[in-house]
Point group: C2
Chain length 151, copies 2
């Protein structure tokens, strides 16, 4: 069988912006897809945050597992922001996502890069490094939300 | 940085049934989490199905990418079925999930195993093998839905 290494590698090379039409039956599905992927990512990211903020005890192994999932989940949502997916279901996505595609993509790429640093920090088992990487990743989430997500 | 191989490996060893209380702030989050993970998985699985059923042209590379994501997503939902997550948000989950935990887990494990076979089949680039593996995986989804999911 294919190794998990190969599995993850093929996911790592997923293209950002395949046409949504080719991937989702209807805009509603694309919106639900991106919301779902972001929610799953947020849950795992939140557990790292709870450790970084001292709300739950620091467990290096758990932090690492969650960070690894965050890295993979961070690759998925963007396919759900294809052309014509600005409406079709309740969404907080601002129209600027589709008029400033390059800038939006920069935000997504930045967040992806920060999640990789987060996983690297989690791997060290050093809580201070985790806190710092968590903070930087959270900033990249917030920057995109501030620009492209309605309250 | 940690390699993607290592990333995927740590996800591959995720435990099935960590206490939900340790992972989700409230039952509502656990329910939304499992629904989200299953929806993301379903979208990727559906694309393979569309090829298997001749609704869209067969593209071996796309089939492989989607199967790889299915394998990883298939590991996630189960943490969201912890104790006390039978209500708290709209859910089709039947109470039997919590009274027949071992049997439910068997279904989940079976599905996980079928997704790995699906990814192996996708890797061959042989549409007939993909069709067959898709059918077996779909059966494992249906078996669990028939037993544990309300219409």
């Amino acid at each position: 069988m294919k190794t998990f290494a190969a599995l993850a590698l093929s996911i790592a090379t997923l293209s950002f912006a395949a046409p949504a039409a080719a991937q989702f039956e209807k805009p509603e599905d694309a919106i639900k897809y991106r919301q779902s992927a972001l929610f799953v990512m947020g849950q795992h990211f939140g557990r790292i945050g709870a450790m970084a903020n001292g709300k739950i005890p620091f467990d290096a192994k758990v932090a690492q597992e969650n960070a690894d999932i965050v890295v993979i989940m961070a690759k998925l949502p963007w396919a759900g922001f294809g052309p014509g997916t600005d409406k079709g279901r309740d969404t907080k996505a601002k129209p600027e996502i589709w008029t400033e595609q390059a800038k939006f993509r920069e935000h997504a790429d930045k967040m992806g890069a920060e999640t990789v640093k987060l996983a690297t920090a989690a791997q060290t088992g050093d809580l201070d490094k985790l806190k710092s990487a968590f903070g930087e990743t959270a900033k990249s989430c917030k920057a995109c939300h501030d620009n492209y997500r309605n309250k």
